[in-house]
Every structure is written in structure tokens, then in C-alpha cells.
Symmetry: C2
Subunit: 366 residues, 2 copies
């Protein structure tokens, strides 16, 4: 199973350079590494000193590189959609729409990149996949997608099934589906098979993100005030999508006592700049051991006998965290992220009796 490693931080703090250095380091240690660049612009190739393409290619022993191209990924994805349609529909309708016509809408970059990461991980060809994304909220939205999409499916499936509209439509489903579908489904099981397939994918994504030995992140910052504040903000926001942050990389800035205290209990490493004289080696040597087992606090811990849910939310104060229980689940809002907490069966449907915010933890008593 591959480790997916990504770097968060304010733009211009050197995330891409550090991602490249990490790829060089891990591959030189014998790990089979794939370095994935998300931004289609020329900066990635310039910093890499190679010309990456949308097909992965080896640029050094054990080191493969790919620069994602959403237009390509969309074309491939569209072919899969068409073959799925042909599988289910008696008379496919999409065959005359070509992948090469499709424009890119907001969100497609993230959804297709996440799917590409999943496929690279499944291939079994890599020990480490380093994802150089935008490193901001957009990367968090991408990684949070399996959990949030599962919530939408779970919640709206119930709403639809309980609705009068569904009751009005369902008698018509059977005659309609038998006219258009290749397979015969009754009203209730309509769309069950595709939903089951989607749910399996989403559950796999959630399981990967919940395991810090499968998806890990580090935050890169300079000593600049805005970069440091962004680092702290992203540290808290990452927890909201269930992403563990394993350490802080201080780019071209020495580690001081107050700085280390800001990011307690994480390891803070100082990194030197790339110099034309010494090349990559000093930077590579200063990087932490990315493969060591994570010691970082987990985003969520559920204590069933104690009836408590602990949420690690560093960098936020009490006023910045909002707790609601308007729907069937508990919703935690912080950092412009919303997380719906699906409780284990033993605690499901319980209301929150108390909430305490202390030492970066929000503790809910049920």
C-alpha cells in the first residue's frame, strides 16, 4: 500500500521545491516514488529541471513524475462513463459526445485528480506518491470529498425515499426502466448497483484518509507573518477533513522556541534554501523521515464506553467553532469546512449533552 504525501502552506513558501526534494530523498532510499504535479503551468517543470508530461515517466532510478492534465483525465473519464452507460442502457445516448469537446468546470480538477491518485495507489507500482497540489483549501476540499460525498448520498437517499415525489414516481419506474435499461430492476433496487459501487469507492477513500500511514501531510511555511498564520489555519482546517498533519517545515527560517511552541506537539524542522553551489543535497538532508510512524494527534477520537468524541482543532478558538445538530448527525463547522460526524451504532442518534474546548481539543459528551 502506498503512502500519499502532500504539502500544505501559503503560496510562494516553497512547497513544490520541497515536494521535489522529498521525492528525490525517498527514491534515493530505494522507495518507488511517483511525484504528481497538479498545476498545469510551467513552474513545476522548471523547478524539477525536467519536462514532465501527463503520462508518468521515470526521470531517475525509482522516481517517476507526472503532471496532471485535467483535459486528458476528463477524456479518459468520459470514455468510462460512456462504457458504463452502454452497460446499463439498452440504447446509449452519449456515444455522440466526444471527450475531446468537454470543457472543464470548477471542481473537475480536484475530482479527477483524486481519482487519478486512487488509481496510482491501486496500481501497486509505488511505495510513496507525492502530491504537489495547491496546498490550500482546494487540496483539503479534494481530500475531504469521499467523506462529504458519502454524507450527501446517505442524506439525500433518505430524503428522496421518504418524499411524496418518490412515492408518485416509483410506480412509473418499473415500466420506464424496463424500456430503457439493459438489466431489470424493481423500483426499490433501482440505482442500487451503481450506488453500491460508488459507496465502495468512497468508503475506500475515507479509510485511506483516516490512516496516517496511508495519507500524510506536512505544512510548509516561511517566517513571514501571513505565511505562519496561514500555516496555523491550515493545520486546524486539515483536521476538519480528517487529514493528519505530521510536521511543520520551516523554509529558510530557523526554529525558535516561540515558533516551536506555536505548533506543539508537532515536530518543526528548519530547511535550508536550494543553493546553486551545493544543489539539492543540503535540503534533502534536512527533511524529516516521512516514512516513520505518525506520532501526530489524530483528527477525531471516539470513546464509546466514555460516550465522548474528541476533535483535535488546533489554531481555532472557541468562537471559531460552531456545533449544530439540526440533522440526524452532529455537524462541526470551523475554518470554512463542515464535518458531519457519523457516530458508531452504539452512540448513533444521541444528542450532545456537553461540549468543552480545551488544549486544542473539542470534547463532546453524548
Amino acid at each position: 500500500m502506498a503512502l500519499i504525501l502532500t504539502f500544505l502552506g501559503k503560496g510562494g513558501t516553497g512547497r513544490t521545491t520541497i515536494a521535489i526534494a522529498a521525492a528525490k530523498k525517498l527514491s534515493s532510499l530505494g522507495q518507488r516514488v511517483l511525484l504528481v504535479g497538479q498545476d498545469p503551468g510551467p513552474a513545476f517543470g522548471l523547478l524539477l529541471g525536467a519536462i514532465p508530461s501527463s503520462d508518468h515517466q521515470e526521470i531517475a532510478p525509482n522516481l517517476q513524475v507526472v503532471q496532471l492534465q485535467t483535459t486528458r483525465l476528463l477524456e479518459r473519464g468520459w470514455e468510462e462513463v460512456k462504457s458504463l452507460e452502454a452497460q446499463y442502457l439498452r440504447s446509449p445516448t452519449l456515444k455522440n459526445v466526444y471527450g475531446s469537446e468537454l470543457g472543464i468546470l470548477p471542481g473537475m480538477d480536484s475530482a479527477l485528480a483524486l481519482n487519478a491518485l486512487r488509481e496510482y495507489e491501486n496500481s501497486g507500482h509505488y511505495d510513496v506518491i507525492i502530491y504537489d497540489g495547491s496546498g490550500d483549501q482546494a487540496t483539503l476540499r479534494m481530500l475531504g470529498m469521499p467523506e462529504i460525498l458519502s454524507w450527501y448520498i446517505r442524506r439525500f437517499r433518505k430524503v428522496v425515499e421518504d418524499s411524496d415525489v418518490w412515492k408518485s414516481i416509483s410506480p412509473f419506474i418499473q415500466p420506464v426502466t424496463s424500456a430503457i435499461l439493459n438489466v431489470s430492476w424493481t423500483g426499490e433496487s433501482f440505482a442500487q448497483e451503481p450506488t453500491k459501487q460508488a459507496n465502495t469507492l468512497l468508503e475506500q477513500g475515507k479509510a485511506a484518509l483516516a490512516d496516517p500511514n496511508r495519507v500524510a501531510s506536512y505544512i510548509v511555511t516561511s517566517g513571514d507573518l501571513a505565511a505562519l498564520a496561514t500555516a496555523k489555519y491550515l493545520w486546524g482546517s486539515a483536521q476538519q477533513v480528517g487529514l493528519t498533519v505530521d510536521g511543520i517545515l520551516l523554509n529558510q527560517t530557523p526554529v525558535t522556541q516561540p515558533l516551536a511552541a506555536e505548533f506543539e506537539p508537532l515536530d518543526v524542522s528548519a530547511l535550508p534554501s536550494l543553493s546553486s553551489a551545493d544543489g539539492w543535497q543540503p535540503l534533502i538532508d534536512a527533511l524529516p523521515d516521512f516514512k516513520k510512524a505518525s506520532q501526530a494527534p489524530r483528527p477525531i477520537t471516539i470513546d464509546i464506553p466514555g460516550r465522548q468524541v474528541g476533535l483535535f482543532l488546533p489554531g481555532f478558538d472557541k468562537k471559531q467553532v460552531k456545533l449544530t445538530q439540526s440533522g440526524p448527525e452532529i455537524t462541526v463547522e470551523a475554518g470554512d469546512q463542515r464535518r458531519n460526524i457519523l457516530l458508531p451504532p452504539q452512540l448513533a442518534g444521541q444528542s450532545v449533552k456537553g461540549a468543552k474546548f480545551q488544549n486544542n481539543y473539542l470534547t463532546l459528551s453524548l
Copy 2:
């Protein structure tokens, strides 16, 4: 009508600082300015020296500021969806889903921000709206959304109407709709009203983007090689979504002859850094006149009698531009953007007889 102004460029080149300086400049000249921050993190407020919120507030005469919060925008949008549903459905199904439960999926930030910009523009309260977004591909995807979404609607509407599935379903539409809808629609006009409303909005968005006096952009870059290459790439990519780029802002870098030649025919301005001694004034004084009529090349020009389409694509070479005519329209692919060119009726359906790439222009002969 307000001018929407945005700044593109690599992260860390000072886009937000320049957006703030532009807001200060224009408001001091008596323009009613709204400064819109997209990223929910703390950097925007730190650089601004104020605490912005998700409600717009005046921080100086003529200068209002808002920091978008997607969770808030989604809640408001959801209320509108529910009231639309209640308007059309006899028995609304969504009333039990609360806006405060909804998580954010990739793409929602952009879609909701674009809608917020539209509403601010429509309010008539502002002469200039300065949008401080991520300044990269994501901002371009957002601004390109009306054109691309119109294409999807146009293309798939036709596919659906021509499909056997539609022919199988349509006899059932009338009984079903009369059971669930408040309004009576025949099969053909089903969904016509909402589609018409959506199309009007999208056409308005396209018209705004096509007018350089309504939506304008500048590219910010430092003298760093990766930043300069990114600037050039974004210059070309912006054309692909129909966004005019009016000038280049060289942050803390002098204008040299080779640099100016790189961005010919655009104006290139050198900007000083913010200094604690002199504050914002030197930077404000060095900014170009954002309200002057645009002299920049237009992304697309169509010469009907000459049967030619000219596409301005700076920064790309011939090999990086792909032309296809697989569907009913001409598709131009460059910079991981795809543009489908809807030709005027006089040229519609014509195939491309020749394509020439010269002096940053791709000229298609029909």
C-alpha cells in the same frame, strides 16, 4: 455597471497586497469599491490590517471589504433552492435538510463566489469590485464557468432530446409531472422555464466577461523565473476563458527591455515593495490606471465577411494548441483549458479549412 478587477499570478508574488493597494487607490479617487477576498484564511485580514467578515463592511470611505465564506454562501443558496422547489413541487422534499448541515464539495467555492460577485455587481452599490481569488487556474475556471456551462446545457439538451431514452420516458412525463408539480407542463416544455432562467444568467455572465470594461485582469509577477513563466502561461490561459489581460505588474522588479518584450503589447509596470517607513502610498502611486479603456488584444475576434476567427493565444507555441472539430463546434485546447467556439449563424456548421499560428494569433479560415 461595476468593473470587476482581478489579479492573476503565481502564489507568493504579492497579488493580495496589490489587490488591497488597488482598492485603496480607487476608493481614494472616489470610486465606490468592494474588495472581495476568496481565501478564508487569516492572511487576507493580516495584509489588510483589518478584520474582514463574511458580511461586507466599510473600512474606509468608499471602501467596503468582504471575505467570502463558502459555508455561509451555501446556506443562503440552499434556502433559495428550497424556495424554488416549493414553487414548483406540490409537495417539497428538501424542507428537512438544513443549510447548516451541508458540507463543501470541490467546485462549490468557485460556483458560489461567482454567484456572489454577480449579486454584488447587480446591487448597483459599487463602481469597482476587486476580486482577490487564488489567481491561478482555479480563478480562470471560475470565470470560464458561464461559457462552459452553457455549452454543456446546449450540447446535452440536444443529446437528451434525440435519445431513445427520452422517447421512452416522455410519455410518462405528463402523468408524473401532473402528480408532483404545482404547474402543468407538457412533455416538451418540461424544465423549460428553469432552463430559460439558467440560460439568461449564463448569457449575462458571458456578456460581462466578453466586455473588458466590465471584467478585467492584471498579472502580477516577481522577477523569479518560475513566477515569470507562470505569468506568461496565465496570460495565454486567460484568453482561453475569454478573459482580457490588461497589463503586467512587476512586483519589486525593474522593467527591463527583454522583460517588456516578453509581454508585448501589454503595459508593464514596476511596483515598489510596501515599506514600514512610507506605508502604502508609493505602491498605490505606481499602480496603473485601472479604469482606463482597455487597449489589450481581445481573446477572440470573428470576421464574418472574411470568414476568419482570430484567437489571441500568447505564450503558447503551435504544438501546445490543439484544434478539433469532433462535435458541432470548433474546440480549441491550450493550457489545460478547452474552449468551444460557438460561431455566429452566418458561419455556423462550417468546417475549418485552414489554421495558421503567427505572432501569438491562431487564425482559422472557414
